[in-house]
Subunit: 223 residues, 2 copies
DNA sequence: CGCGGCATTGAACACCTTCAACAGCGGTGG
DNA sequence: CCACCGCTGTTGAAGGTGTTCAATGCCGCG
């Protein structure tokens, strides 16, 4: 019965179909295998903001383990194939599974912190390059980069809803980056000729401890 | 020896003094008793963004339980008195302590999500009122509201660094809110004559208990 | 008293939005 | 097969929101 069990644990979603609704009780999490999804929020007057992106390999949403519900909707940005991971199973046999999810929560928390900095203090160009850089690195950590290319299924409207801009301005910013030779699009695949120019560390030096900025601290301490 | 033990677990910080530095290893968390603190990020060119606020009663930072380090600095915005909670003790005797911290992580995560929406899609006036409303409600949940008044130790520069605006524009926005009778400042205390006008629910309907499964919590701890 | 941090106000400017129009493209139905 | 439609991307022009620069007043504190 293994094949049948596996089949039960895989589910598919069409583009714009919801993986979760607002306030819905969740007794499972998804592990994305193909396609992208997003958590979003719509204000009463229609303004929309994407607050999280889920890529293949990501858990969606790890904090459901603790909260038991999704307080914002999750929607597929592309056709999605996902594995369902029942929380009951994780609770029954705690251990590795719990830690994986908690690590997922921490990663999401760190990404959100970075986005707050981007949205609060960075220009349109910086926000877009930050997003492309983050996605490029997440794709790379899931081994989905080939020759500085990766799939980029987001529409300009999607990007706008992530970076807090209008679609037309995202278009202009992308055009600017293109004219400067920093990005190239061919259909739904993104090519970054010089990843370092976007602040993306080369693959070898994975992560090196950044070390604090003394001038920055001095500004705070100048009391 | 009780008094001596207690004394060891209380520490004080002056305004602008750091509770944690960037990348520092943490073997404890703080529980704030008096005063406010903030996590912040400074860009190379000096732009500053506050990514979290810590009020009396809050844990700072609950996720250190899982990450073991602070990747952004924490600084006191006022004189701070805090209780240190060693993580070794929590790990040694898991139970209630772990869940309190994990709940703190989830609350921080939800607040960050709301701030992404604010920073991405809301106007200056909305961002400032959102902040005042959030702080008012957090103060109220810690029983620190008297007659629609609470202490508001943030300077306009601090507020600007939270809501992603310049201090002068924050000043104009506050002046606008004041002229509309929505807020009043007397020194460092904030008075909200009509909390409902800022979207703050009245005290009675405080919170409809989110309803969590204590048994589930206990299972997680076994990990 | 004098100094430094904080609040306040004005004027000019920049960045991003808004509105509008159009092109390309895939899908659907006549 | 082609016409039509909707979605996505692209570009221009005008306008608004928030920034920048600068000056002034206030207040607590050494």
């Amino acid at each position: 019965m293994r094949t049948e069990q596996d089949a039960q644990r895989i589910c598919q979603f069409r583009r714009h179909e919801h993986l979760a609704h607002k306030g819905e009780v969740q007794d499972k999490v998804y592990k994305l295998q193909e396609g992208w999804a997003s958590r979003y929020c719509v204000l009463p007057d229609g303004r929309r903001q994407i607050t999280a992106l889920f890529l293949p390999g990501d858990y969606c949403e790890p904090q459901w383990l603790l909260s038991g519900k999704s307080d914002l909707p999750i929607v597929a940005l592309t056709p999605v194939k996902a594995q369902t991971v029942p929380l009951a199973g994780i609770h029954a046999k705690p251990g590795d599974g719990v830690m994986k999810l908690l690590r997922g929560v921490l990663e999401a928390h760190d990404r959100q912190t970075s986005w707050i900095v981007s949205l609060g203090r960075k220009s349109a160009i910086e926000r877009v390059t930050d997003l492309l850089a983050e996605l490029f690195q997440r794709m790379r950590s899931h081994k989905q980069i080939v020759e500085n290319c990766c799939t980029m299924p987001l529409t300009q409207q999607d990007i706008a809803d992530v970076v807090g801009l209008t679609p037309v301005h995202v278009n202009r910013v992308l055009g600017d980056l293109r004219s400067r030779g920093l990005v190239r699009f061919s259909g739904k695949t993104l090519h970054l000729p010089k990843p370092e120019a976007l602040g993306i560390p080369s693959l070898s030096q994975a992560e090196a401890a950044p070390g604090r900025d003394p001038a920055a601290d001095r500004r705070i301490l100048a009391a």
